[in-house]
């Protein structure tokens, strides 16, 4: 009986409107477009009033789970609290209104801000230089791999292959591929980490780089990172680290100190910028000083007491996007670091790891844990036990919705069949964790006693379970009226 919000196109009515401009204040000239026929109408484009706009989006908004309302333990995504003061400072008029093509003299505040965050990220990671241009993690990977390719090309040979552990996020192989590399998978060992022997075997002169995620997507620290770097470097390769999981390590481990040549961070994870329903984020890339010449343009530098844009960099990989990155995201991340300081950031890692281990300990024995190495910021269970009753990870996930909880990540790591990758982050209270644990334990019992209940879940959401197969089979990708 609960009413469903129609599509805007179904609310539309000819003649309704929500917006007007002031009357044109220059003499009108009806012959400006020459032989070009201006379009007479935009078929189907919706016409609604302002109250309808507001209701439409407000109602739709309420059907979303989000960090502001719900525990959101989506593994690998670091769904932490997004501080509200950061939104406020990112809306200051000097930032919002400044044009990316403005003369640099008039936007020194912006350049100082970007430079500042670059410097602080160097401090945090031990890398020697950062670029804040990439729009997201994957974009950072691409940028980073391009830097590696450019550096190796400069050394004489870009090489052909990139090694990537089988536990890696899908963007890693995809980014390497767009950069012109073939991808070879390294199998994880029983501890869930890189098998050094395998690495030694595969790390040939053909291999440009190893892309390692640390802690990896199982939440396990690649403790041999030092040795890994040695092997890669010995064979003339470079070491790329996917820093998407830095929330576990911040203030505890600086990749730049331990042989990592290129690193990307996700500001929308570790540095608390909001995920926006899928973006925008930012994926800054840090490099060693050796790789600095290859950074994308523009690079901000200080010259005669002011900040300028350096685009004249012959070794640069070139431009990876227009303008200066997702600037407002950068503002928020800087605000976050300045608020937390050194102690605060370390506390982030500590509590993130505490929370994950609290969950792990509370669910171990009830859910199957394929890799039992110590967990850092997340733990990856599987549905192995529940599958005996025909219950899969997706059923558990959908049942969590009935308890008002966002499900964990299930799409990876691919090496855990039926994965439930749980990352609570440090911004969850014990009460929230306990509610989640409690729900998971109940669900495990329900899986025993009433598996159908789970397979039909969710029962109490805005919609019942949606048919994703049908969606892909008969794609309806736009309203057609």
């Amino acid at each position: 009986m609960s009413r469903r919000e129609p599509l805007v196109f179904e609310i539309s009515g000819p003649g309704k409107k929500a917006f007007s401009l002031p009357p044109l204040d220059v003499p009108e000239n009806r012959e400006l477009l020459g032989s070009i026929q201006p379009r007479e109408e935009i078929p189907g484009f919706p016409e609604i009033s302002e109250p309808e706009v507001v209701r439409h989006f407000t109602r739709l908004s309420q059907t979303n789970f989000c960090v502001d309302t719900s525990f959101y333990p989506l593994g690998s995504c670091t769904m932490k609290y997004n501080p509200k003061v950061n939104e406020k400072v990112a809306s200051l008029p000097g930032f919002l209104l400044s044009h990316p093509q403005a003369p640099v003299d008039l936007v020194q505040g912006n350049l100082e801000l970007i430079k500042k965050l670059e410097e602080l990220l160097c401090v945090v990671t031990g890398m020697s230089h950062f670029t804040l241009l990439p729009a997201a993690g994957a974009h950072g990977e691409l940028t980073g791999m391009m830097i590696i390719r450019a550096a190796l090309t400069r050394r004489g040979n870009p090489r052909k292959i990139v090694l990537i552990p089988d536990s890696a996020h899908g963007t890693n192989p995809s980014s390497a591929h767009i950069c012109g590399y073939q991808v070879r998978e390294i199998k994880s060992n029983e501890a869930g980490t890189i098998d050094l022997k395998d690495l030694e075997r595969m790390m040939t002169e053909e291999v440009a780089a190893l892309m390692v995620t640390n802690p990896n997507t199982l939440g396990i620290f690649e403790k041999d990172i030092h040795r890994v770097a040695e092997i890669v470097h010995d064979r003339g390769g470079l070491l790329y680290m996917d820093g998407a999981n830095m929330n576990a390590l911040i203030g505890k481990f600086r990749p730049g100190d331990h042989g990592v040549d290129v690193l990307h961070l996700n500001l929308h994870k570790t540095f608390a910028t909001p995920h926006g329903g899928g973006g925008p984020g930012a994926g800054p890339v840090g490099v060693t000083s050796e790789l600095e010449p290859f950074l994308p343009i523009p690079v901000i530098k200080r010259e005669a007491g002011k900040l300028v844009l350096d685009e004249n960099r012959p070794l640069s990989i070139g431009r990876v996007r227009s303008f200066y990155g997702n600037f407002l995201v950068v503002v928020k991340a800087l605000a976050y670091i300045l608020t937390l300081g050194a102690e605060g950031l370390k506390e982030v890692a500590e509590i993130a790891v505490l929370n994950a281990n609290y969950i792990r300990k509370s669910l171990e024995g009830v859910y199957h844990l394929k890799y039992t190495s110590p967990s850092l910021h997340e733990c990856v269970f599987s549905d192995k036990r529940q599958r005996e009753k025909g219950v899969q990870n997706i059923d558990i996930a959908k049942r969590l919705i009935d308890y008002g909880l966002h499900p964990p990540t299930m799409s990876f790591p691919l090496i855990v069949h039926g994965a439930l990758m749980i990352e609570p982050t440090e911004t969850e209270s014990k009460a929230e964790l306990d509610a989640f644990i409690d729900a998971m334990l109940r669900i495990a019992r329900e899986a025993e006693e009433n598996p159908e209940l789970l397979k039909k879940a969710p029962h109490r959401a805005y919609v019942r379970r949606l048919d994703e197969t049908a969606a892909a089979r008969n794609p309806v990708l736009r309203w057609k009226g």
Partner: protein
Amino acid sequence: MAYIPLSPADIEEMLRRIGVEKIDDLFGCLPEEIRWEGPLELPPPLTEPELVRYFEGLSAKNTYQQYASFLGAGAYQHFIPAVVDYLSSRGEFLTPYTPYQPEVSQGTLQIIFEYQTLICQLTGLDIANASLYEGATAAAEAVLMAERIKPRPRILVARSLHPQYRQVINTYIRNLQLELEEVAFDAESGRIDLDDLKKKISEDVAAFVFQSPNFFGAVEEPAEAVSLVHAKGGLAVAVIAEAVSLGLLPPPGSYGADIACGEGQSFGLPLSFGGPYLGFMACREEFLRQLPGRIAGQTKDAEGRTGYVLTLSTREQHIRREKATSNICTNQAWCALRAAIFLETLGPQGLREMAYQNLQKANYGLERLTSIPGVRRRFVGPIFNEFVVRLEKPVAEIGNKLIKSGLIAGYPLEKDYPELKDCLLVCITETHSKEIIDRLVQAVEEVFS
């Protein structure tokens, strides 16, 4: 710490349950040798009042906003209705992630579906994705997509395509054994030089990429160029850097574009020093499986009610890994949300009126400026909201003088087009009152008298 909701007692209790004594014990997996022990050399933490003051200081160090500015060149100042900020700042829109779990993300998903439809309606094409990073990478993705559809070694781009977009395309393809070639612009009209295109088009061209209105503000009539490309079996990729133009100018679908992509910043996103912006992409239905990025689709729930999901994810990196149509994962969903609110608020009349006022005001400014001796129109033919003037005094000198009068007259073209070193690209939108345009005219007049 304000963002950590555990009391000391909570922590104690949790450690006890875990069975360790102190938090540090949980980091036992980090070998001591590699652990960072000292404090990070960061500035001391700021409290909220200090933080606000610090950023107010930085914001005030930018003086750009005190000027009357006629900058465009890929980023456009348009009015943003209050509802866009009001609605988009809701936590339910700001703080969820990609709607992997559709049952708790119907808001985000339905809005993406509406956004995709709006983009299709505006571009006159069949399907659209949920967003890309911004205009330049959208253009680069379009090139990669075209090459997957037509695996041929050459890519043509119009020299009148935004210089930064050309550079980004170049960055993306240089590792992929593809060759990039520029198609000249007609020296008189600033539009695509069809002769040059004819010379360069061939059966080994995967795609021809052009922009309309182009970087000089000139409105292309691309039908003929598109035919030339199609005749050789290549794809026509139309780039729109100024999305508001879609409210008035013929849509890419109408002149045969196979893929339309570009920058959606004009749809409700503040200038923000260049980001976050909104890459959009639409194409013909047959290319669906090659489209990069997320796509929302309609489906039914277990009770037969309509709902929305992310779909066709077999194109994407989390399933296909190195064989994916793109590496994109996090996109610009929130910017697409703002565009959807913006477009639904303006409606067809509002968007058309906005575009129309851009057209009228820019042409008014063009006419007034070029009536000044020493200022000449560089290209003939219709423009939208930008135009190029040639100045008889050095562009930098003029620019500096105008800045002293509180005016930023436009974007000097010399850096990107040495051949246009005496030229300035001027942008006028609905946000420029007649009064401010007249002020510019007067100031330029003074400089030239």
